[in-house]
């Protein structure tokens, strides 16, 4: 009864969601992208230290469509996008749902800097398609989505907003804590920010800079303190990727989590993958931004607790 009352309150946010999905598809189709669907249930999820896939029989529900989409990229699909339901165990909070929607897109022949420009174009396109121009209001911040957005390196962000340097935070295993509690709330409060150039340990599928092996070509978009998307130049070295997966699985084991089977079909395809960049964007959070919602609960028809 009370759940269905909430549905009525959410009508505007759900309409915003539909508008965003339509505009997103129109944007990618206008740029020659192919919309694809890959299986949600897979035999080997990405071995990542801090992401738990949801078991489904002896397989798993995918935590993101990344592996299958990169196999398509390797097979010659040069511009692909997917709007996919994804699952991650034990992730529940004002910005997290265990079942959520990701927009992922991959494009051959570009690296992360060109992908950042495409992000600017996408958000501006969606905002204008909604008839509101380039301005949004989120968490009380008036934000202008006009390009170019700011680009801040992780190192600069720690220097500017953190109580410790990047090196100290890494040494004390406090990287996430300083990032989430001290830095994130101050990113993108008047215009969106690309936080870029991560320590390699925080980009297990990203390429490191050709001139600097200690920096991964990875970026995250922040708008009004909200983390919206994670993109990078794709690593193409299968042997290196296997080593990183093994390391991620070791971390999982050390922290009492089950290791995942090695995604062999993906590793096999990786050597044939062209230079490319790809990104995952949280659609629910994009709806939060445009609907001015303070909790992810407000932008879905039902939360798991309401089922």
């Amino acid at each position: 009864m009370s759940t269905d009352c909430k549905l009525e309150d959410r009508r505007r946010a759900l309409e915003t969601r539909a508008d965003i999905l339509h505009a997103t598809r129109a944007f990618f189709l206008s740029r020659g992208y192919l919309e694809v669907e890959t299986p949600n249930r897979i035999p080997a999820p990405l071995p990542e230290s801090h992401i738990d896939a949801m078991p489904s029989g002896s397989w798993w529900l995918h935590p993101s469509p990344e592996l299958c989409m990169k196999r398509m990229l390797a097979a010659g699909y040069e511009r692909i996008f997917q709007i996919a339901k994804c699952w991650r165990e034990r992730e529940r909070g004002p910005l997290h749902l265990p079942e959520f929607t990701l927009l992922e897109w991959y494009r051959a022949g570009i690296e992360y800097r060109q992908l950042m420009e495409e992000c600017e174009d996408l958000l501006l396109y969606v905002s204008i398609a909604r008839g509101r121009g380039s301005r949004v209001s989120f968490r009380g911040f008036p934000i202008d989505l006009s390009k170019p957005w700011d680009r801040v390196t992780v190192r600069e962000a720690f220097e500017q907003y953190g109580s410790v340097t990047l090196e100290q935070a890494l040494a004390e295993d406090r990287f996430e804590e300083v990032l989430a509690l001290e830095i994130e709330p101050r990113l993108g409060v008047s215009r969106p920010v690309f936080l870029c150039d991560y320590p390699p340990a925080f980009g297990s599928l990203a390429r490191t800079k050709p001139e600097d092996p200690h920096t991964a070509e990875r970026f995250e978009i922040y708008i009004g303190g909200l983390e919206l998307a994670n993109g990078f130049s794709e690593l193409r070295d299968a042997a290196e990727q296997r080593r990183r997966f093994e390391k991620e699985n070791e971390t999982r084991t050390r922290r009492g989590r089950p290791p995942y089977p090695m995604p062999e079909t993906f590793l096999d395809a990786l050597s044939r993958m062209p230079d490319a960049a790809g990104i995952a964007l949280g659609v629910d959070r994009l709806v939060m931004l445009f609907a001015g919602a303070s909790s992810i609960d407000e932008v879905v028809a039902f939360t798991p607790e309401e089922l």
């Binding site: 801090h50 992730e91 004002p94 997290h96 989430a180």
Partner: protein, 187 residues
């Protein structure tokens, strides 16, 4: 033993050798990094509150608390005396330890006392308690407008708003969780 992912509201854990209860809780996870658990905790001995952020590798022991069924016996000076229903041992709680429960304690009432290393730290009452009104202003006849409440005092000394028809000597039911009047009790 609990891990950080077990943290939730009202969980009781040990920190720095003292029992704490989680009063507020938020899940935070930046990027592909490890999960953080931002908690507001109340020290169950001192009542003081603090904020702490835990990481997924953190583990905790459950608070060494034990709940016992007891009977409230009587008040003497500033002490409230209870008897353990199983061992028949008697313990005394200070007014501070009893807290708001003192407003609803009547003799021979069954309640639950929370102990930390044999030291009483909290008390849980039945949800409803029937008490006698000891002082009430007279009912002005004809005043039947609903919502027109008057203050009365009950046998425990607690002051509560009731409808105008409640008179001195009558029994009323109070919800101990909200402290509000529920209904008139006819014997």
């Amino acid at each position: 033993m609990y891990s950080a992912s077990d943290l939730r509201k009202n969980l009781r854990i040990m920190l720095d050798d003292e029992p704490y209860i989680v009063v507020d809780f938020q899940f935070v996870k930046p990027g592909k990094g490890q999960s953080l658990y931002r908690c507001k905790l109340r020290n169950m001995l001192t009542g003081s509150q603090m904020d702490r952020t835990f990481r997924e590798v953190d583990t905790f022991q459950p608070a060494e608390t034990e709940e016992k069924n007891m009977q409230y016996l009587y008040k003497e000076g500033g002490s409230f005396h209870f008897m353990d229903n199983e061992s028949f041992e008697q313990i005394a709680l200070t007014e501070e330890q009893v807290g708001d429960a003192k407003n609803f304690l009547i003799e021979n009432m069954e309640c639950k006392v929370l102990l930390f290393r044999d030291r009483p730290i909290d008390i849980t009452l039945p949800n409803f308690v029937d008490v006698v009104v000891t002082e009430a202003p007279p009912w002005i006849k004809g005043d039947t407008v609903s919502g027109n409440y008057k203050p009365v005092i009950v046998e425990t000394g607690y002051k509560v708003s009731v409808p105008p028809f409640i008179e001195q000597g009558e029994k009323i039911r109070i919800d101990t969780r909200t402290g509000e009047y529920l209904t008139r009790v006819k014997e």
